[in-house]
Symmetry: C2
Subunit: 701 residues, 2 copies
């Protein structure tokens, strides 16, 4: 059976804010997994009806306990299932019959437990679908909706203070997620929602986050991921967050190969290449935090309402050395530390006559203890400077001066509109609490404050992803061929040329004489290349001869290539030899399209030759994308300076390369049903722009 | 006047542990800079005599206050000077006359305050030398010797608990240093010494650290640096620490250009290239911490007595995701996460039957709450595995289980000898305190624990720097020439060839006919290169023609080079044209020697061509060094895989390149008085080994 999406959405809302909750397999032992949700719901003051189900009890903690699902007095909005795995499917069926439409399944013993568990999980998903029950889990520790005191969880997090706040946090890991939730509490930031997806037999990370991020009480979305399967859903979520103006901060583990090994043994989720994941989520405006500390640091800065409009960082510091360290880090993470304008310098000189021309960082020394205006005026002047978009104030200890300092910071806040962060090393607790109470983000290490400021700047400067990148006119939908497998170079080139990709001119010679004629016709030096549907990598069989410009060379070259191919691959079908005009260019790129199992068509660009092999200096975007996104790909490359001309070579035209990438992305998107792989390698870029010298295109039916 | 070093050393000891302290310009206001040392000395129970000096008082806090230095009843071991800058020189003279041999100068207004201040500081240094007074400062906040309750400081650090411990900490920054000292206290680690060098008019960072690191109560040395001037002293200190088996952990600010700008405005210290600093301190076994958090993380792991013997990391985790994250980070920072041996797997399977083959990370889940042996046996098994050198245990919260967990960790400690670290995210305070009390390092973030483990591994695996690297036999001391400036290529080549450097064969042709004769003599293709003492960069004037193998080519080439040189640089003295046999090699290196103002002769190696220009993929060592140090340089290069053969090219002989670097380092060290600069660029490396194709050598008288 099927249900329409609006229904599903409404049902998910009921799951997240139920008027009544049945706890299947409830225990009177509040220390146990099946007792803890009862404890939390009661203690935290859940206002709805709590309906324990367990034939062993008649009541638990004063609540009527029902012997079975059938015996329940109503179709509860939500059921919590804390039964052994073997009984869960049966239970879900009964929920469906009772008209209970949502369930949180704590039980483990499913997909995470080998092949048998996977079979059981598949049956569970099918059962739930048939019974029209939406599932969170299994193998999850449930969720918290702190706004409405819904504690459908056995997480340790619920044992402490859990005041509601502006953060929506969804985690695929129970243990790590609980740790992060506890860190949010330690920081005095508030979680509005805390959801653990578990095995995602039904509800996934993206669908859950989509359901809560629209809540107006939520200002920031944070997610912890171990793997994803539905890239489209994640992209839709990221776009929704952009639309809402709410930052989406993601931590995903599994960057390296040993991590991937550990991940493979830990989760069944599809392993997407981390480089692709990273590039694609950034493309759609996601802020990626490398670990839980960085996530918390970002949450803190985005929980306060001010946003940065640029990358200029002003630093006021009590220690010159700390200023140097922060300026260094700023440069590493994409901020600038601008020299200050004359007006700002004059204002600073007026408060700090002894210091002469005051630079950035501004060294306020420790004298502000005696002269508070030193600090106030320095920071206000910094923030008033047109080149400064965000400021950091660094200080340390000051145990005896917390109150006056809090006053200074509140005054700065009143007199300015741009964001500023405080880094207070070895801060007294009262200082940290006081600043957070005033909505001023506070850090205890300088480099971490800089990284948070960088996230703020990145977020402020990001271009909104255009909802539908405009397709370049004249881009063909799909070549007419019905073939599959590797396509003949001449045909593949002509399709790409039609899409506006600058392909080097090549024709197929089916005989030695034909090759000579084609060379004469081109009237310039040519390359000869073996052509066969069975030989994707021509150079591996020595199947390319460059720069021939005489008839004897063409003839001997033709024969040599056919001979080499027959020797190296006797069974290969030989179509002939390509006669291609020599392309020119001093920069060698590799460009490609791959079909990612998670995100679909992905366009790659990087530097070719030794650089792609040893440095892996490549970047990715999800197709299609617009020209400025294409342009930004070139900035991603670590060696991008090569494009500006090095060692006496002229700069190449970045716009022309961007146009190629842009057109390719639209062609690839249109080809999604059929394109399996495309390699443009090498692409030579000279003063005349890029020219694709070789291409391998693989289609499927 | 001069004094012998042993005297100086003894005097420094007296400064650090004085039997009596005079406080010049003492105040009865214990909140003031000139009152705070009195307060600290009294409150912390300094056992020596405290002698305030100030004509305004007859007594302060029950201590007799003397009207003048002359009036003091004894020559105190130490004087603290808290006077305005203008009075300091006079005061130091009086100290000398009184026989007081050491002084800590709090006063600012010296080198940090522009040219006038620099003049005053120079006078101070001269005055002190003449008066035979050793100085700490000026512009410093003094020092603490916590073992003997010597608080010659006005640092806020002294306001709190200051129990003595195994760490010696010397800082060039007062404010940042105080912050770090406070963080050490927050962590419950103990500072034995805390010294602030200030402007280093006399005592420098290295000399001070050298004086305290030998104290047997000190186990770890930590330093915060903003700049250094005496590289030799730092190298001696690093070697001393290696000899003593005490880790030396350094944080130095000023990695990037904006940081360097800030540093330049902040400190007068010589700005050494950070890349050279980094390479040289690592060469001598220093552990560099990138910021104060990493320094603290390293201090924590080195304060416990266990050391790692290799890089194998074992991970036991309550969260699979945290395990993945730590495994990722491990790979990034040079650790391995080995798969476990069969015996270990069997042991793990015995405690965790449900989990089948147990990998590394070991996912112990949360079940150890019910079954403590799960955790104990997992970690003990990991540490018993021969491929594991250090382990990390990850867990979170567990507020209700702190005591049993502490018991588990103590049991693990008793049953093992290898180091293990605990990462306890959102840990209850009691957990952190309990672990530290048991000498078990504890972290609250997984990646930071991994970085600390990596430092432990790096320290354990480091080769001791050989006290005197053996000079290769036959290495010449110094060429006989007395010339200065750029040396003729043929002569420079012959000196280097004598030192065992494989120089491509080149001879100087002084006429066209001579060039033809030299080409005939070599009987192979040659390159022609303009030779002039005024043209160091031949390619810039198009002064190189490659691969000529016919008489007409030699003749026209010769004429063309002379013509180009005359056109481009009419005033250049032309010596003729070099005729050089074409060298072969598919790997292009640049090798050089530079005289660093701080560290002396520095040997550099990197990949040439576009790579050196865009990637700056180079590394450095201080000369001389031994062959294994030379070999390690090649591993430093990010693109080192090129040496192993990429894109079908054969591997090159790393030993042969190392031999070149080793010999060059000894030649450079011997040439230190005269060599100003040497560029070997390019060095082509082929199957026959390296060949230096071009060299520019600049000598000075």
């Amino acid at each position: 059976m099927t249900y329409a999406n609006p229904d599903r959405r409404e049902t998910i809302s009921r799951l997240l804010n139920p008027k009544s909750i049945a706890v299947i397999g409830a225990s009177s032992d509040f220390g146990k997994v099946n007792g803890r949700p009862l404890k939390h719901l009661i203690e935290k003051g859940y206002a709805g009806r709590i309906l324990p189900v367990n034939p062993k009890y008649e009541e638990i903690a004063g609540l009527v306990c029902y012997p079975s699902i059938e015996a329940l007095p109503e179709a509860a909005d939500l059921a919590i299932i804390a039964l052994p795995a073997a009984h869960v499917c049966d239970c879900v069926e009964k929920l469906g019959r009772k008209g209970i439409r949502t369930a949180v399944i704590f039980s483990s013993g499913f997909g995470e437990m080998g092949d048998e568990g996977k079979v059981l999980e598949k049956r569970l998903a099918e059962t739930a679908k048939a019974a029209r029950v939406i599932l969170l889990g299994p193998n999850c520790l449930g969720f918290v909706n702190a706004f409405d005191n819904v504690y459908a969880t056995f997480s340790q997090y619920a044992d402490g203070e859990t005041g509601a706040g502006p953060i929506a946090f969804v985690t695929q890991s129970g243990a790590f997620g609980t740790a992060i939730a506890a860190l949010v509490r330690q920081r005095g930031l508030g979680l509005g929602y805390f959801l653990n997806t578990g095995n995602q037999a039904d509800l996934s990370f993206a669908e859950l986050m989509m359901a809560i991020v629209e809540d107006p009480r939520i200002k920031v979305a944070a997610g912890y991921l171990e793997g994803i399967t539905d890239g489209d859903a994640l992209v839709r979520l990221a776009r929704k967050c952009q639309e809402l103006g709410k930052p989406l901060i993601l931590t995903k583990v599994g960057r390296m190969s040993s991590g991937a090994r550990a991940a493979a043994s830990h989760t069944g989720a599809l392993a997407v290449s981390d480089a692709v994941f990273d590039a694609v989520v950034r493309q759609y405006g996601v802020l990626r935090a490398r670990n839980e500390e960085q996530m918390l640091d970002m949450l803190e800065v985005f929980c306060q309402p001010r946003r940065a409009c640029g990358s200029g960082l002003g630093i006021a510091t009590q220690s010159g050395g700390a200023g140097v360290m922060m300026a260094d880090r700023a440069e590493e993470v994409g901020l600038t530390v601008p020299e200050l304008g004359a007006a700002t310098q004059a204002r600073l000189a007026a408060v700090m006559p002894a210091f002469g021309a005051a630079g950035n960082p501004v060294d306020v020394t420790g004298q502000f203890v005696a002269r508070p205006e030193l600090l106030t005026e320095s920071v206000v002047s910094l923030l008033d400077d047109p080149d400064i978009d965000v400021a950091i104030v660094w200080l340390q200890l000051m145990t005896a001066h917390v109150e006056p300092l809090l006053g200074i910071f509140r005054e700065i806040q009143q007199r300015t509109v741009k964001p500023f962060l405080v880094c207070w090393v070895a801060a007294p607790d009262a200082a940290i609490k006081g600043l957070r109470a005033a909505d001023i983000p506070v850090y205890t290490a300088g480099e971490r404050a800089v990284e948070a400021a960088a996230a703020l700047a990145r977020y402020g400067m990001q271009r909104k992803t255009s909802e539908d990148a405009v397709s370049p006119s004249g881009s063909p939908a799909c070549p007419g061929t019905t073939g599959s497998g590797m396509q003949p170079t001449v045909e593949a080139s002509s399709w790409l040329r039609e899409a506006g990709i600058p392909m080097a001119h090549a024709r197929l010679a089916e005989s030695e004489d034909h090759a000579v004629a084609l060379w004469r016709d081109s009237a310039r030096p040519v390359a000869l290349k073996i052509e066969s549907p069975d030989i994707p990598h021509k150079t591996e069989i020595d199947g390319v001869i460059l720069n021939i410009d005489d008839e004897a060379g063409i003839r001997s070259g033709y024969r040599a290539l056919i001979e080499r191919a027959r020797t190296a691959m006797p069974d290969a079908r030989l179509s002939g030899v390509l006669v291609q005009e020599m392309a020119e260019g001093h920069v060698e790129l590799v460009i490609g399209v791959q079909r990612d199992p998670v995100f679909g068509m992905i366009v790659m660009v990087g530097f070719g030759g030794i650089l792609v092999e040893v440095l892996k200096d490549v970047t990715f975007r999800r197709a299609p994308f617009d020209r400025s996104e294409a342009y930004s790909m070139l900035d991603d490359l670590r060696m991008s300076r090569i494009l500006d001309g090095v060692r006496g070579k002229p700069a190449v035209d970045r716009e022309a390369i961007s146009l190629l990438l842009f057109r390719l992305s639209h062609w690839a998107a249109a080809m999604e049903p059929r394109l399996s792989e495309l390699d443009l390698n090498p692409v030579l870029v000279g003063e005349a722009g890029p020219s694709v010298v070789d291409c391998v295109m693989i289609l499927e039916e």
